[in-house]
Point group: C3
Chain length 338, copies 3
């Protein structure tokens, strides 16, 4: 899909410096871009890549426009403009209809503009709205709803009654609506508590590959609008995630925890159950959160990487930390009393 620089600039509310008629057919990095491609320059770093680029045009902000060796689109937020232009130049192929090798229950409702891929299953009572694309080998359980223009890549599983909003992007291997992990204990033996809630996902949500979201026990698990979930995340029953929060890969969130809006949670973080995390909280990689956080801000836990031999010595000393603290206090007291 090709566009002139003028069209692309208009799409992002930018201003062209140079040849407005220049035709662009795709995006590329500054280093690999060719003359028919557009790239972007965001920070003050990598000056040289900008100066040396063979791109047909570069997206950048006013303060860097003099560095551009080629046509430019000048905007306030070059990365955002790049995202929008990259999307415009790479619109996904639109299909509609039901693949002959799909298995669709006669009571499911599939909008004529939607697509269901090969070997996919749509169970009884499910509702697939307009513009939805369901890739190959997906399973849509009973009474699920998939909102308008949502895209499910191959091999997504929605268990019964899952509700997906509009404009979702769900990646392969994701499982939404699996049972929560809830048991009563009968003299050592675990007895399942039936998981009767569902998963409700808002609009414009992304769910990464092999991420799992459990259904609620009685009430629902809720993912807000604009939430972005990376791969291999585990979200337990009755978790609530606020709008526009982004969570990186391998995070685990235990049952009934409520996460605020506009949070960012980095990779590998663990959050225990029944907590409340405020809006605008940012947690760094592999931190463990065991208490509620009521103030916005950045939080961390963990210890630094070291050469194994040095680490080993500090590792062992950690066992004495409380003892060391007490001994230090004793010395201070004696010393300061003299």
């Amino acid at each position: 899909m090709s566009h002139t620089l003028a069209e692309l600039a208009e799409h992002v509310g930018g201003k062209v410096e140079g040849d407005e008629a220049c035709v662009i057919d795709n995006v590329a990095s500054l280093i690999s871009a060719e003359h028919s491609q557009i790239s972007f320059y965001a920070s003050g770093k990598h000056n040289q890549a900008l100066v040396d680029t063979n791109a047909g045009a570069v997206i950048l902000s006013t303060q860097h426009v003099d560095l551009s060796p080629t046509n430019s689109i000048v905007v306030e937020n070059p990365q955002l403009a790049f995202a929008l232009i990259a999307e415009k130049l790479n619109l996904p192929e639109k299909l509609s209809g039901i693949h002959k090798d799909a298995s669709v229950d006669p009571t499911a409702s599939i909008d004529p503009s939607a697509y269901v891929g090969a070997q996919s299953v749509v169970a009884a009572g499910a509702e697939i709205k307009s513009g939805v694309m369901i890739g190959a080998s997906c399973t849509i359980g009973k009474d699920c709803v998939v909102g308008e223009n949502s895209l499910l890549h191959a091999n997504v599983t929605l268990n019964d009654k899952t509700i997906i909003g509009n404009d979702a992007l769900i990646h392969s291997g994701a499982v939404i609506g699996s049972d929560g992990f809830g048991f009563a204990n009968d003299q050592g033996r675990w007895v399942r508590i039936p998981q009767l809630g569902k998963v409700v996902i808002g609009d414009d949500v992304e769910v990464g590959a092999n991420t799992t979201i459990d259904r609620g026990a009685l009430d629902d698990t809720v993912i807000g609008n604009g939430v972005k979930l990376d791969n291999q995340i585990q979200i337990a029953h009755n978790v609530i995630i606020g709008d526009h929060t982004a969570i990186a890969g391998c995070v685990g969130i235990a049952g009934s925890t409520v996460i605020g809006r506009y949070c960012t949670i980095a990779g590998g973080v663990g959050i225990t159950g029944q907590l409340e995390i405020a809006d605008n909280v940012h947690i760094t990689a592999t931190s463990l959160v065991t208490q509620s956080i009521s103030q916005s801000g950045a939080y961390s836990s963990g210890t630094p990487l070291q050469e194994n031999a040095k680490w080993q010595r500090n590792f062992v000393r950690f066992r004495q930390l409380d003892d060391m603290a007490k001994r230090l206090k004793r010395i201070e007291k004696k010393f300061d009393n003299k």
Copy 2:
């Protein structure tokens, strides 16, 4: 499915206070329950929710019966009774037969009372016993056995020769019987050691969504009776897990480790290989276990979450911990010798 309070009380060995003929059709939380629903009250907390409930009945223990504003079922363990009543009111739909869009090898043995869902594959020599439900898009490998009344949700993969006991509940995306991660090293190049064992799972086991259990290298990987595994757990080759142990999400257990009975392992814990963990061991979230544990009890590792700026200072100091310990000792020695 509706039952009178008398019927439900009898099912859990409880005693009705109030109207035995009251008809209940489902469970709900104290806050959201309506008059045709039953709820439960376990702890001494949330008094107000109990006092304000609109539930038709509440399950509770003798000491709280006076707080109930409605009919009650009085039992010793309200949570357990709730689990059993919730199950009775929500019996899963029973299907039998093979969906027309399933692919079943003629040498597989499917009990007439079992069900195989759409797009599922049952390979040669597999045995599906009575009352089994296999959801959509499952793959049952060669010579697998699935025990009586087990339920596999959509998109479960059993690799060849996997043995599942009776009454299993296996969630979507689970992979059981994948190869263990075993290699010999040939001058830097890794050479696979064929993984020839299998996975053997006992009765009444739950396996969470996207959990993986590798087959043994020579002998088998063994999951005991009543074991409950949450989502996204990784169990390596030749691990043995004792009966009635429960493991939360995102735990990884490395090769040949043996876990005892009645253990609980919280989310995100890592356990290295070749260890032995005793019965009744409880490990808190995201701990790392690198040595065997021979005594029952609770164990932990890790450091606390802090505001990033404060954490950064302590994080850096960890590198000096051994040095600090030595310096403290030196000061103590000098001081006490004076």
Copy 3:
């Protein structure tokens, strides 16, 4: 598949001590081996298992040959010889053709010697080379290439344009080529950056069950030759992994990080984005890597497991570590100045 000891010894360049005509039909552990089976003995430990074995033959090195109670194959690296012999005795069944319940696009190219299993999907333009085995319920996206003799177990997903080299072994639930996690921020709202690169995997690579590898944003995500990836690993967009590096389960590697050759990364490690890790780096279990590593060697982070009550005291003290360091310095200064 049976072979004489002479044939097996020749296969691994070893020397038979004992009966060269002894017929072996499989491998087993020293403890469980029967007379038709061969086992191996690598370390100086478990002497007794060797002395007591009923195996028909044992693979070992010169220094242990006197301990063998039976026929021996003497080699330099017994574990390597065992791997090669185990493979020779357990060659996987070779199938070819397209299962009647597979769904193959007419524009896909499937070599006649390749196999596509039941309920699998091969999309338009995909190329499946000679000797490839694709298990049941796999999805091969558009324009993917699967190299010669690669084996995909059941339920593998390759998203569009993924390139797999020769001799790959890919386990169930793996997702290769999912979108990277990349967004621009528009006043709090996340806007997707289209992920336009692909995943390119070298020869002789293993990918574990439920492991995810994201496609690059603009350029590609690259997995080198001989790389071995265990289960539940997350590899983000534009990561590059050097040849012959092995990564254990549950590791997460964030975007654009470059890992060297011949590295080993133990289970549960987290590596943040944009880092460079040198060749021959070895990282121990659940370490967090937040800075580049330029020197080969072993690296670790983390704190030791303790009984919960003792740990709790040290855990709390970690918050004071910087303060303790300063107080210690003050005392030292005062003391040494006296």
